[in-house]
Amino acid sequence: MSALLRAELLKLRTTRTFVALVAAALALSLLVVVLTTLIDDGFEKEEVRMLFTADFSSIFIPLLGVIGMAGEWRHRTITGTVLAAPDRLRLLSAKTLSYALAGVVLSIIVTVTIMAVGTIILSARGETTIGIGDLADQLWRNLVVSALLGALGVCIGGIVRNQVAAMIGLVVFAFALEPTILGLAPEVGRFGPTAGAPNGLLEVDAFGDDADLLAPGIALMVMIGWVAASFAAAAALLRRRDLT
């Protein structure tokens, strides 16, 4: 398993996609934090904490997972990959774990950077900042969300082999369908995998009513459930598919 994990992490590092997504996530996250901290004033502690949930890793990492898995079919490299690792369950496990780790790395880079830059600007402007304990608490939540969404992306790519369809489907679901469900029926939407449950874990009040958020512990279990269910579906499909 460790050999396959090393191989998958090496795959990630040896194309430009990961670097490009790190740069994009970092640039967008910094843009939001820098503009907000420079323009707004009268920050309260909760607003500062919310600001540091602006880690765009959680948007890019599931797309990276989709690209990593569905790309095996797009580039027809799946045959060589399965020849090197004929136990397809272990292969999918290694790929899922590698993208979860990639999510952690991406989120560390982005979150630590926006926390540092945001805190420096707020301090310079004499605004409220939050202590190291609160920053660490927010950091682990961001990391966990990115890790689980990276894993989810791989599983979606394993279910929907068409890379373009999988990416478009994920974007439509995350940015249109799930927010709509959240708005119309928050009691259902809060269980969603890309916004509802992550909001619960991050304690982001997207509904204007904290009562609609899942408790962080429950939200974590729900996200793990989504990953487990999609992993089971992807594994079942991968194991029975003929690679012709």
Binding site: A3, L4, R6, A7, L10, K11, T14, T15, R16, T17, G71, H75, R76, T77, T79, G80, V82, L83, A84, A85, P86, D87, R240, D242, L243, T244
Partner: protein, 300 residues
């Protein structure tokens, strides 16, 4: 004297895709130290058989094993079996070296093997270029490098000369002979019989998913004494059509035709009837192609 060791065993293999029977009860063996040509026209079931052997498609019935073990049961598959499949593909944005480093990591092979196999296949100078800039021949050499990475005892090569230029084809022949000389079993599929005739010891011929013949090259070559004629004409399409209309198998290479089951006199007469100008005409000794066509009923 000990019986030769069969390292690849295909036993009563069947593979159905929906209503299509791609492979129908195929059985044959491949021995260590020999090159076995796996021959058949396009669509005969060669690639499906090899993919079943490599665990990429699930047989409907029967087994395809390496010394009794399924591919996924091998302890370190890439150290025991190297494979080049017809559609060998690579991530276009990854360099050849990094592609092999990934496979070396997955197979737990020393990273030093990467440079060794890059040199073996002659693309060491291009190792740090992205694969999207590779020619088809270079990609094929990279696929062969990947197959050799684990120094396996069995090589499975599906149409390995695709995309190779004449020097590359010659190099490939030398490579497979060298591998067999070192005790390895080599199973090489092709629909271009002339390309493997010079390098194989044994042949397995299939058509429409069924075994049509097997044995040493000599045994198969000796299976039929029918005549064959090479002819060059100004209008090869017209003559080929006329010959096929009279029941002769015709294989075409450019303006040259290889006519099976016909003497030079017969071919000359048909050309005259069709008013086709003959530029060259000679008898050809019994060939693997002829045996192949006789076995498969494929007229080329």
């Amino acid at each position: 004297m000990m019986a030769p060791m069969a390292v690849v065993e295909i036993k009563d293999l069947h593979k159905r895709f929906g209503s299509v029977n791609a492979v129908k009860g195929l059985s044959f063996e491949v021995e260590a130290g020999r090159v076995t040509g796996f021959l058949g026209p396009n669509g005969a079931g060669k690639s499906t058989t090899l993919r079943a052997l490599l665990g990429l498609v699930r047989p409907s019935e029967g087994t395809a094993t390496f010394a009794g073990r399924l591919y996924h049961e091998l302890e370190r598959p890439s150290a025991e079996v190297g494979a080049v499949l017809e559609d060998a593909s690579f991530h276009p944005g990854r360099t050849a070296r990094n592609h092999l480093r990934v496979l070396a990591a997955a197979g737990e092979h020393p990273e030093g093997r990467v440079d060794e196999v890059l040199s073996t296949v002659g693309i060491a100078d291009a190792a740090d270029r992205r694969v999207k800039g590779y020619s088809m021949g270079m990609r094929q050499r990279l696929a062969i490098a990947a197959a050799l990475l684990g120094d396996p005892q069995v090589l499975i090569l599906d149409e390995p000369t695709n995309g190779l230029d004449p020097p590359g084809i010659s190099w490939m022949r030398s490579l497979v002979r060298h591998q067999a000389a070192n005790g390895r079993a080599v199973l090489v599929s092709s629909h271009l019989l002339a390309e493997v005739a010079q390098s194989v010891d044994d042949v397995v011929v299939i058509s429409s998913g069924e075994l049509r013949g097997q044995g040493t090259l000599e045994q198969v070559l000796g299976g039929d004494d029918g005549p064959a004629t090479e002819v060059r004409v100004q209008d090869p399409d017209r003559l080929a059509s006329a010959l096929e209309g009279r029941g002769h198998g015709v294989e075409r290479t450019g303006d040259d035709l290889l006519v099976l089951g016909a003497t030079p006199e017969q071919v000359g007469a048909i050309a005259a009837e069709e008013s086709v100008v003959v530029l060259g005409l000679k008898s050809r000794a019994r060939s693997l192609e002829a045996a192949f066509f006789a076995l498969t009923g494929d007229g080329g």
